[in-house]
């Protein structure tokens, strides 16, 4: 079954590290955008079996005002109503949440909220260019809990310029005290062209070094594992049964449909995306055309490589039989020598026919994956 992703390329203010398709837009434009989304959603009615998961991401979906949010959720419900998804997530920014929006989310059928906390450090939030305070983040979490949300993810970023191992430890403790069901802890990637990359390049900020980030990574792993979370993907931790189904589908290289400006879809081995520009997206959809601007169909050999690389992100890795079933290739025939080499280096383990990254290999995943692409 396919998953559904809906992109809201809208936020109050772009964060310093963000290179996503998002930014502030006039309210009227967002109205038209939601209208266009509705039209694109209509087209999915043909998928009779419904969606196994739905994910509304951004940007900041909760930056929409109450009316817009309600409209959006109604449009989704119109399509999924008869076949509710097993998991329905929305991303939320603590600076944009209020009890009314949370109530609308609940009524709309959402059962999982991913709250972009990023840091509980005042300085960290400033460097990251976030619009909310540590206190607002905490409040946001409680508002969600009070509204009855029992599946909450907290997004965290570590390894930002100037962050110490102690500060990271405090963030981790804070999160554990709140007790979300799921935590995504991302090591900051300084993407080209972002404000933070300029600051690092000009020396205004000093990027965190590899060894410190490694220590932070290990600390996160130790803290969450000790508290009963499973480190089930490179950057993701979850209580039992609370792994994000929507994301697992990506890592399984499963099919998904992406709606909205710049959203990617992957259907029948073909990957494509809509135009990034919000205006152009609206124009195309409104005039009854498709908004696709990029398409790629990988040859089976490269698709197999992608399947492996994505699967290795998960702690469960991939079983040889499963790989063969999904790709038609034999894992050892394709990659035997590389697998052996990385086993020898202690980065991969192949036990009981299942290939996975070791603890050490998890932090060096790219070094392994680069040999498979």
């Amino acid at each position: 079954m396919t998953s559904l992703y809906i992109h809201i390329p809208y936020c109050v203010k772009k964060c310093s590290y963000c290179d996503f398709n998002s930014g502030p837009h006039p309210r009227a434009l967002m109205d038209r955008y939601i209208q266009a989304l509705g039209k694109e959603l209509e087209g999915t009615r043909a998928i009779s079996e419904g969606f196994q998961t739905v994910y509304i991401g951004g940007g900041t979906p909760t930056a929409l005002d109450e009316a817009q949010l309600e409209r959006l959720l109604t449009l989704v419900k119109d399509v999924t109503g008869t076949n509710p998804p097993r998991e329905y997530t929305i991303e939320a920014n603590p600076g944009t949440l209020n009890p009314e929006k949370v109530r609308l989310m609940k009524v709309g059928g959402i059962d999982r909220v991913s709250l972009g906390v990023q840091s509980f450090s005042e300085g960290g939030l400033e460097i990251l260019g976030r619009i909310h305070s540590p206190l607002e983040a905490e409040e946001g979490f409680y508002v969600l809990r009070d509204a009855g949300f029992s599946n909450i993810n907290l997004d965290l970023i570590f390894g930002w310029p100037g962050q110490t191992l102690e500060e990271w430890g405090q963030d981790l403790q804070k999160v554990l005290r709140l007790g979300p069901e799921h935590v995504s802890a991302y090591c900051l990637t300084i993407e080209r062209g972002t404000p933070i990359s300029m600051d690092v390049r000009t020396g205004r900020l000093t990027g965190s070094d590899e060894d410190l980030q490694h220590k932070m990574f290990k600390k996160a792993h130790a803290s969450f594992t000790r508290a009963g979370y499973k480190h089930y993907e490179i950057s993701n931790f979850a209580l039992k049964g609370r792994e994000c189904l929507h994301n697992i589908n990506y890592w399984n290289n499963g099919p998904y449909l992406g709606l909205g400006a710049g959203a990617f879809s992957y259907v029948d081995g073909r990957r494509y995306s809509n135009v990034k520009d919000v205006q152009k997206y609206i124009e195309k959809i409104t005039s009854g055309r498709r908004a696709v601007s990029f398409t790629e169909t990988l040859p089976s050999r490269r698709r197999a490589a992608e399947t492996l690389v994505m699967a290795l992100r998960m702690h469960s890795g991939i079983a040889e039989g499963e790989f063969h079933r999904r790709t038609g290739y034999s894992l050892t025939e394709l990659y035997g020598p590389s697998i052996e080499k990385f086993q020898h280096l202690g980065l991969l383990s192949l036990t009981g026919g299942r290939l996975r990254l070791t603890q050490k290999g998890l932090f060096l995943a790219n070094q392994v994956m680069v040999e498979f692409v």
Partner: protein
């Protein structure tokens, strides 16, 4: 009678003094090139030359000029303007009776001005001093004319002032060329003697030989004999450059042009050789010149072993048009199979390397350049060594000799102290100081070539705010206290990182090099140890800590394509690394041997 109407000349100048622009103006004024087909700087016909603003290969062009109702034929033989190619200047001069000595009115007399003027004087050429760029605001004609007088003995009244860019003074220059330069002498009835001063390879015609006829004449269909190589060929075409190749019936005494004789390889033609008729051979060859020996060597290796053949093909192709570039196969224990390549100098090396990169798709590892040393063994035999790895054990060396050059540096006098310090640090021997004027001097030094080829020019430029210029000639070999410095990576000696250094600097350089390599070699999945050694003595040690973290934090639906492309890029990058043992070494590391001074 006709010979009287010929003038053969070249333009000699320091780089950037406007030689090519002046040549263009002469071509334009004589309508050798119509303005429609006119491209800036016609004589630099290789893209690379155009880009770098230098002329690498000598070139010749025939122009027609009318003065006082008489038709004249002017042959301009172009010369390169860089120190590496002074030998090409020399061979161009040999084909001429006169030279235009071009000096930039703002820059003044520079190192190559002096060097080239001396060459012309030595060859008894008639010199017309020309002051260029007189319309520049920064022009200082009075001072520069004084410099020309003081150093080169030019009379101020003889100096012709031009602006090659605007064409100002060019008519007067033509007048001087005709009135002051002597027509060629020679015996038009005698046996053919033609001097080969250049050759190029043409895909369609084979080798095109540039020659200046000194005696007799040459026609298509003639059977010729090369007096030095003792080879004979049948001439299929003779002609002149206008500037495109234009066939003529015959090349007569005093004329400059080309011959085509279905010669397959450029290596069958020796520059400086004398062409005569096979049947009616001349008794004595023209004074030729020695082919220059490569002064600088480096190893070129394909990063992937499978690229060996494409690399060899690319080198062969390059050598077709550059007889001063040499290459032969060599095998490095660390780098595998590759080629030892010889160059006239560092610029020549860079030019060849750039062309290789441009014209072949091979990823290349270049080892640090080295000069040719002489090693006298215990039996008294002298061996030339152009690869540091071939240096024998210390106990087998009776004497270690290095090449020394006579260096001429022209600079503003205020920088004398700094430049002398640079020369001293590089083991230079002070010879003399000459004053060009109150403000500008010529410093003469003797320097080990090895100390010159690395960064001497850059250092000179930065120490003199760009005003210093240099030129050098090879003097000979002298004994020196030299040792081989080895580098071990992961306990394995990497022969391509070996270098020859002076004993007094060995420790310092070993430490420095190990540190530099620690920065250049990326982190690996294991610790990489770098050691510097002289013989079996380890003199420095550095360790690269293992890589801890290399992971993409986020990878969801919209990221997959981009992240995969990043991984693919990372993989491409790895291909540029040379694997030695289990250590991946980037190209930059092989050049880090080149950082002897700070």
């Amino acid at each position: 009678m006709y010979t009287d109407r010929i003038r053969n000349f070249c333009i000699i100048a320091h780089i950037d003094h406007g030689k090519s622009t002046l040549a263009d103006r002469l071509l334009e004024s004589t309508q050798t090139v119509s303005s429609r087909e006119f491209r800036e700087q016609v004589l630099d016909d290789m893209d690379l030359e155009r880009e770098r603003g230098i002329t690498i290969k000598a070139s010749a062009v025939t122009m027609n000029y009318k003065k006082d109702g008489k038709d004249y034929v002017l042959n301009l033989i172009d010369t390169p303007g860089h120190v590496d190619f002074s030998y090409e200047v020399f061979r161009s001069l040999a084909a001429c009776e006169g030279a235009l000595l071009l000096v930039d009115a703002a820059q003044g007399v520079e190192a190559q001005t002096v060097a080239n003027a001396y060459l012309a004087i030595e060859k008894h050429l008639e010199i017309i001093p020309v002051l260029n760029k007189i319309d520049l605001q920064q022009a200082r004609p009075v001072e520069v004319i004084e410099e020309m007088e003081k150093t080169l003995g030019m009379l101020p009244r003889d100096v012709i002032k031009v602006s090659a860019k605007s064409g100002l003074g060019v008519d007067e220059l033509f007048k001087a060329i005709i009135e002051r330069l002597p027509p060629p002498k020679g015996n038009s009835q005698g046996a053919l003697r033609g001097l080969i001063f250049d050759s190029v390879y043409d895909d369609y015609r084979g080798v095109v030989v540039y020659l200046r006829v000194f005696d007799g004449s040459l026609r298509a269909g003639d059977r010729i004999y090369m007096m030095k190589t003792q080879m004979s060929f049948e001439v299929t075409e003779v002609g002149v450059f206008k500037p495109k190749m234009s066939p003529v019936e015959a090349l007569h005494t005093g004329e400059v042009g080309y011959l085509v004789a279905s010669i397959k390889s450029i290596h069958d033609v020796e520059i400086g050789d004398t062409v005569t008729h096979d049947k009616n051979r001349a008794g004595v060859a023209l004074p030729g010149y020695q082919r220059p020996l490569p002064m600088v060597y480096c190893g070129l290796y394909p990063t992937a072993d499978t690229d060996l053949v494409p690399l060899r093909m690319a080198l062969e192709k390059l050598s077709l048009n550059d007889s001063s570039f040499t290459f032969e196969p060599e095998r490095s224990p660390a780098l595998g199979f590759g080629f030892r390549c010889g160059f006239l100098g560092l610029l020549h090396m860079e030019v060849v390397q750039e062309r290789l990169e441009r014209e072949s798709n091979v990823n290349i590892i270049q080892t640090a350049p080295s000069v040719t040393y002489e090693i006298v063994n215990k039996k008294g035999e002298v061996n030339k060594i152009d690869n540091p790895d071939h240096v024998p054990m210390e106990g087998d060396i009776e004497e270690f000799r290095e090449p020394i050059v006579a260096m001429k540096i022209v600079l503003p006098s205020e920088y004398i102290g700094t430049v002398m310090q640079i020369c001293e640090e590089r083991r230079g021997k002070y010879i003399s100081t000459e004053y060009l004027s109150e403000k500008r001097v010529i410093l003469n030094y003797e320097l080990p070539l090895a100390e010159v080829i690395f960064d001497f020019y850059d250092k000179l430029k930065s120490a003199t705010r760009g005003y210093g210029t240099m030129d050098y000639t090879f003097l000979g070999y002298r004994p020196a206290d030299l040792v081989r410095l080895d580098i071990l990576v992961g306990g394995k000696k990497v022969d391509a990182l070996s270098s020859i250094v002076h004993k007094d600097q060995a420790y310092y350089k070993g430490k420095k090099l190990a540190k530099k390599l620690r920065e250049e070699i990326p982190r690996h999945l294991f610790e990489v140890v770098i050691q510097a050694a002289i013989g079996s003595r380890i003199i420095a040690r550095e360790a690269i800590r293992p890589m801890r973290k290399d992971v993409t934090a986020k990878c969801y639906g919209g990221d997959i394509t981009r992240k995969r492309k990043l991984l693919e890029k990372q993989k491409e990058g790895k291909k540029r690394l040379k694997v030695v043992g289990s250590v991946e070494i980037p190209q930059e590391a092989f050049l880090s041997v080149l950082t002897p001074h700070e």
